[in-house]
Amino acid sequence: MGLFILRRLGVMLLTALCLTFVVFFLTNLYPNLEKLAKTQGNFRMSDEQVESYLGSRGYLQPLPRKYAEWLGLAPGYVSKDTEGNTVGRCIRSGVEPDKAPTRCGILQGDWGFSTVFKDNVSSIIATRLGLTAKLMLFVMLLMVPSALIIGVLAGMREGSRTDRTLSTLSIATTATPEYVSGVIFIALLASSRFGVSPMLAEAGLIEGKTLFKGTATSAMESANFQNFFLPVLTISLYGMGYIARMTRASMAEVMTAQYIRTARLKGVSFRNIVMKHALRNALIAPFTVIMLQIPWLLNGVVIVETLFNYKGFGWTLVQAAGNNDIELLLGVSVVSVFVVLITQLLSDIGYVFLNPRIRIS
């Protein structure tokens, strides 16, 4: 087991290295750098000015060299600016050039400086990730129990009308991407002119103008039902159907097992069979699915955070990518890659713990 985890960690590190190199390569293509120079400097720069801007900041060095600088293996780029001051990658404003470290990269714990937000990448990612964690927590709280309930209810009597209805319902939720359900929810529940809200407001059932808020910006400080429920619901719906279908399949399989038949023949009531005999074994497979669903949720988070203007991790990704903010983008991709790989690892380990029949050799 220990060896297995070690090997997986090794593969994980290799994957992360490859991926960050790909991101690095793509963000450092010349047209992207040109865009960066023009957004940071000004839009009317001539080609020579762009070149000198990029050259003086070390962007035109060979790619492996820049990557090594970002990793902290090579000393940071240093040069003189027009006034003769020493400037460089590791010399931040307000720090004396002599006191600045020669190397500043991931290995030194320095994730770089964001050109869009004018802040340290590590602190941006920490705050944004916290906000997204809040969102994800509620998504999990809503999605997992409801998906499990739907799946178990559908799977305990396979082929019944309940099963057909719930299965079709879960197919429908998997067919509704976040940007569709989010738009429908906002139009239906959060619009002050159309949908349910005007009716409810006229009847005096709700205090404000709308039932829910169409933006979740205020939820960043204080989340409440009104401003946070729609984004949470939007993300959970898309993931819910898939987990429910997996649970249903697993439950249906368990219900045909020999020991369930034995219990039935012994005269155990149907409720007890479901609750005590079937449920435990039926929930092993969904566990893996739930863990593997987390990377998918990350996608949903990007869409929903953009749609509801909730400035979390996904929103940061869009901002960084849209402005070619190289170091922030690298930080974001490292975090998301690790989320994906760690959930895979956890699901493998958890599966072994939950299912004693599986041994890893």
């Binding site: 994957t15 991926l19 793509l26 293509l29 010349y30 047209p31 992207n32 040109e34 865009k35 060979p62 790619l63 492996p64 927590l137 509620f138 129990p145 209810l153 019944s160 009308r161 309940t162 299965s167 079709t168 197919i171 429908a172 998997t174 067919a175 509704t176 991407p177 940007y179 569709v180 738009v183 429908i184 906002i186 139009a187 959060a190 619009s191 002119r193 159309f194 169409g214 204080s222 989340a223 409440n224 039902f225 009104q226 409720r271 990377p295 990350l298 996608n299 990007v302 869409i303 953009t306 996904g314 990704l317 869009v318 990518a321 983008l329 974001v332 991709s333 998301s336 890659v337 790989l341």
Partner: protein, 614 residues
């Protein structure tokens, strides 16, 4: 001119009947669901109560967890609303007990009875809607006929004016929904024809025919074909859309559905059926035109992804030895050649140091390939792509800057080569022993494919521009969208195919083919692949749906396709900016996308069920 109403002139009578039927359906459906969820025994009353109580308590509990975790600022329920909820619960319990008692006295199985009434109510709703539609379509012009009959013959306007007035009056009698129904008439006719013919010959049509035994699959197929026909008729015959996708009309900015077009000419459609968007374009027409882009790109991109996935996944699952077993094998020479090209290219473009580093890395990789299996190497690559968040990948690949570097074209060079490789190997492995036939078939297939391939990747004025026989140019936006969607989809297909190949590998017919002395590619493509077709067809349908979602995602972030393009993702993106004030431009494309993806998923579900039956 009066704007169109949603349901036309005959809505009122049908409307009230419909409301009654819907109310009955909802109440009975809920009752039946709750009764059957807990237990359909005679203790129906408490079951019903249980069901409602569990739901309500879950909501209350959820809001409490919510309040404690978020710090309670306006989050949870105060004691007043809690009291209200508990009172409501009590009331419901009383009601449930009474209802249960009542039903138990009269019916043996309350859940089944309620379900029966529910289904009956659904049928009544269907009948009512159909009756309303027929009635409205038949009698839409009745009001106008009365009006003409009541006119004074002396002041009768000329025939042309009358015809124009009649046209508008008929539309106003129909209302928005019936008018939209009429616009889709070619689609309905084709659908009816297709379904009748297929139903008639369904026993002779294999898996496709079996689909007509499955109601869910039929609905799914109907939804998919609806959009396919819509795309076909609007794309080739300009039939369904009422206006151009880019036509702007003055005074139609953000107008509500059914608004008459100001100063419409005789040949123009006099209404904006689903309103105007923020640039005064017709929402309905844009939705219809958008279907063409999706129906064109999504299946084709999925097909390419399948070609890539199959061509790489089968050998990954089939071969168990090291990826390259000797330096002289074809594989080793090809790999070495590809690596050499990369190194030379780096040397030419970005200097000696970079090339040296690349050469070292690629050399190590080449050496490693003699140690690891093909499966390990390809799976690592696939997992690498899968570990990327899709949206980050899109942002990195689908920007105008990246198009300028020519990267999508290079990717197209690689990805579009796979169909050729696939077809070539497929034919060659089968006809290896008959050289004359082999040459004929290979040239019949590969020469046109090669010409297509070259004119696809070769675009005038871009990085790849040397091929003289360039028949067409794909706009950069569409190419990059296509390539990135194929790129994102292929690793998943690869994993599925690999798993299937690993599974089928141990079957007897594979062993038999090996004993016969068949080559590995023959076994992979003519023994394993046909036997894996069931799951692959199902996954193909699902994946078209997923590709549609991906295309929508691209449009939603404004990537790839030009902003004025009528595809559904871009239209939703356009509409969401004013969503809370004017929801009508964003909703039609959203529902269109939803229905297409839903149709594909239902179709896949139906196919899966039917293919499992035999």
């Amino acid at each position: 001119m009066e704007p169109l109403t949603w349901f036309g002139a005959y809505a009122t009578g049908f409307g009230s009947l419909l409301a009654i039927a819907i109310t009955i359906a909802v109440i009975c459906g809920l009752c039946a669901m709750l009764l059957s969820l807990t237990s359909s025994s005679t203790s129906g009353s408490f079951s019903l109560f249980n069901g409602i109580a569990v739901v309500v308590l879950m909501i209350v509990g959820f809001s409490y967890v919510y309040a404690t975790v978020t710090g309670g600022a306006g989050g949870g329920l105060d004691s007043g609303s809690l009291g209200k909820i508990l009172a409501l619960l009590l009331g419901l319990a009383l009601f449930a007990a009474m209802l249960g008692y009542f039903m138990n006295t009269f019916f043996d199985d309350p859940a089944a009875t309620m379900g029966y009434v529910f289904v009956l109510a659904l049928k009544v709703i269907g009948l009512l809607v159909a009756a309303w539609l027929v009635w409205t379509l038949l009698f839409a012009g009745a009001g106008f006929r009365d009006y003409v009959a009541g006119l004074d013959p002396d002041t009768m306007p000329d025939a042309e004016t009358l015809a124009a007035e009649k046209r508008i009056a008929v539309m106003q009698g129909r209302g928005i929904i019936a008018s939209i129904f009429m616009r889709f008439m070619p689609v309905w006719t084709s659908l009816a024809l297709l379904f009748t013919v297929s139903m008639f010959y369904k026993r002779k049509l294999g898996l496709y025919g079996k689909l007509y035994d499955n109601i869910i699959g039929m609905i799914g197929f109907g939804l998919v074909m609806f959009w396919v026909f819509t795309a076909f008729y609007s794309g080739f015959f300009e039939m369904i859309a009422t206006h151009g996708a880019l036509d702007q009309a003055s005074g139609m900015k953000n107008k509500l559905p059914g608004t008459p077009l100001r100063g419409a000419e005789a040949h123009e459609y006099p209404f904006y059926l689903l309103g105007g968007d923020n640039l005064a374009r017709d929402v309905f027409s844009r939705m219809v035109m958008g279907s063409g882009i999706v129906i064109l790109i999504a299946p084709l991109a999925t097909l390419f992804a399948f070609m890539v996935g199959i061509t790489l996944g089968l050998p990954a699952g089939y071969f168990s030895g090291p990826a390259l077993n000797s330096v002289k094998s074809y594989g080793a020479i090809a790999t070495a050649a590809v690596f050499a090209v990369i190194v030379v290219y780096t040397l030419a473009t970005s200097g000696f140091m970079n090339a040296l580093i690349f050469a070292t890395v690629l050399g190590i990789m080449f050496a490693l390939l003699f140690k690891t299996t093909l499966d390990t190497a390809l799976s690592f690559l696939a997992n690498l792509i899968l570990a990327f968040p899709v949206i980050l990948l899109f942002y990195l690949l689908v920007t105008p800057e990246i198009v300028k570097t020519g990267l999508p074209q290079y990717m197209a060079v690689v990805l579009f080569a796979f169909p050729m490789i696939f077809v070539g190997v497929l034919l060659h492995s089968r006809l290896r022993t008959q050289p004359a036939k082999n040459k004929l078939w290979l040239s019949v297939w590969l020469i046109p494919m090669f010409l297509l391939y070259m004119s696809t990747i070769n675009t005038a004025g871009s990085k790849i521009d040397f091929w003289p026989l360039d028949f067409f140019d794909i706009p950069g936006g569409i190419l990059v969208v296509f390539v990135s969607v194929v790129f994102v989809n292929s690793p998943t297909v690869f994993r599925i195919v690999r798993g299937l190949a690993l599974d089928i590998n141990s079957r007897d017919y594979v062993a038999a083919a090996q004993t016969r002395g068949e080559g590995p590619w023959y076994i992979m493509l003519w023994e394993i692949l046909p036997n894996a077709r069931g799951p692959l067809i199902v996954d193909f349908c699902l994946r078209i749906g997923y590709t549609t979602i991906l295309l929508g995602t691209l449009g939603f972030f404004g990537l790839g396709l030009p902003p004025e393009s009528p595809d559904w993702g871009s239209t939703i993106n356009d509409g969401r900016k004013l969503l809370m004030i004017y929801p009508h431009p964003a909703l039609p494309p959203a529902f269109a996308l939803l229905s297409l993806v839903l149709g594909l998923n239902l179709l896949a579900d139906g196919l899966r069920e039917e293919s499992l039956k035999d």
